[in-house]
Symmetry: C2
Subunit: 189 residues, 2 copies
C-alpha cells in the first residue's frame, strides 16, 4: 500500500500490515492534469479519492455565476463530494484538480462495503465524519460570527501554506469575498 495512505490508516486505527495490503487492492492509482475535473455539478459521485500528491478543490457556481470554493484537499487527505456519495443524489459541486495530481481512487460501493464489514475502516470512516463535521461547524461559526478580515487572519494562521500555492481568486472564493476585497484586506494586515 502507498506509504501516505498507510500512515493515514495507522494514525487513526490499529491495523495489521496484512490487512493494509488487503485494503490496498481496492485503491487504484490515477494521475490527473492541472484543471482536470473528477466530478461535475449534476453528476452522481461514484468514488472517494485520497490525495497522494497535488491538490483537489470542491466548488459550486451560484445563480449569478460566481464560484464558491467549498473545500481544498491537499496531500494526505481524502476528497470527494461526501454529500453525493452518501445520498446518491447528483452533486451540487465540481471536483477539480488545481495541480497535476496523483490520487488513489476507491469505488463508492467498495468503500461502503468496507465500512460495513471491516472494523478498521468503520472506525476510520467514523473519524473522518467526525472531523469533517467539526471542521464544517467551525467554518460556519466563522461565517456567522466574523467579518472578512478576521476570517482572512484565521485562515493565514491555520493554513499559511496555501497562500502562494493557491491563487487569490480561489482563496477569496473560499472566504466568501471577491478578489477585489481580498486584495484590499491584505493591505490592512
Amino acid at each position: 500500500m502507498h506509504e501516505t495512505l498507510k500512515s493515514y490508516f495507522q494514525k487513526r486505527t490499529q491495523i495489521t500490515e496484512q490487512k493494509l495490503e488487503e485494503l490496498a487492492a481496492y485503491f487504484k492509482e490515477k494521475t490527473f492534469k492541472k484543471n482536470e475535473f473528477l466530478l461535475r455539478e449534476g453528476e452522481v459521485c461514484k468514488s472517494n479519492y485520497f490525495v497522494v500528491s497535488g491538490c483537489l478543490r470542491l466548488y459550486s457556481i451560484n445563480p449569478e455565476g460566481l464560484e464558491n470554493t467549498r473545500y481544498i484537499a491537499l496531500e494526505g487527505k481524502f476528497g470527494t463530494s461526501f454529500t453525493s456519495l452518501i445520498t446518491g443524489q447528483p452533486a451540487t459541486e465540481y471536483i477539480q484538480c488545481l495541480e497535476k495530481s496523483t490520487l488513489l481512487e476507491i469505488n463508492k460501493d467498495d468503500f461502503f462495503l468496507l465500512v460495513e464489514n471491516e472494523p478498521a475502516v468503520n472506525l476510520v470512516y467514523r473519524k473522518i465524519l467526525e472531523s469533517a463535521y467539526i471542521t464544517t461547524q467551525k467554518r460556519i461559526y466563522d461565517f456567522q460570527g466574523s467579518d472578512s478580515l478576521q476570517r482572512l487572519k484565521f485562515l493565514i494562521e491555520k493554513h499559511p501554506n496555501i497562500f502562494g500555492r493557491l491563487s487569490n481568486k480561489i482563496i477569496a472564493s473560499y472566504l466568501g469575498i471577491t478578489p477585489y476585497t481580498l486584495s484590499r484586506l491584505k493591505t490592512n494586515l
Copy 2:
C-alpha cells in the same frame, strides 16, 4: 423505551424490541424549565440529549457580545455539543432549553461504548454524523453564497414551523443578521 426514541431507532436501523429495551436502560428522563441551561461555554459536554418535547438551542456569544444561534433541536432530535462530546475539549457554546422540555439523557461514556459495541447504535451514530455533516454543509453554502433575504426565504420554506414558535431575535441570530435587518426583510417578502 419512550415511543419517540423507539421510532427514531426503528427509522434508522433494524432492531429487536428486546434490544430496544436494553438500550432504554441507558437513557434517563429529565425535565427542564424554560431558559434552563444544559451546558455553558467552557464546560466539557458529558451527555447527549434526545428531545421528547420542547426545544433546545445551541448558541455562542462572540467577542462583541452578540449571540449566534448554531442549532435548534425540536422534538424527536438529538441535541448536544457534538464537537465537545467528540473531542473532550471545553465547549465553545451554550445549550439552553427555549421551552419547558422533556429530554432523555445518555451519558457520554455509555454512548460511545454503545457505538463501539452495539452494531445498531454504531449504524445510527454514523447516520447521525452523516446527516449532521450534510446539514452543516448546506448551511455553509447558504452563508457563503446567498444574501440575507435568500437565507430567510430558504428558512421559511424549509422550517415554516419555527416562525411563531421562536422569537425573531433568535431567528435573526440563526440567520446571522440583526433583529433590525430581519424585521426589515420581512416587509420585502
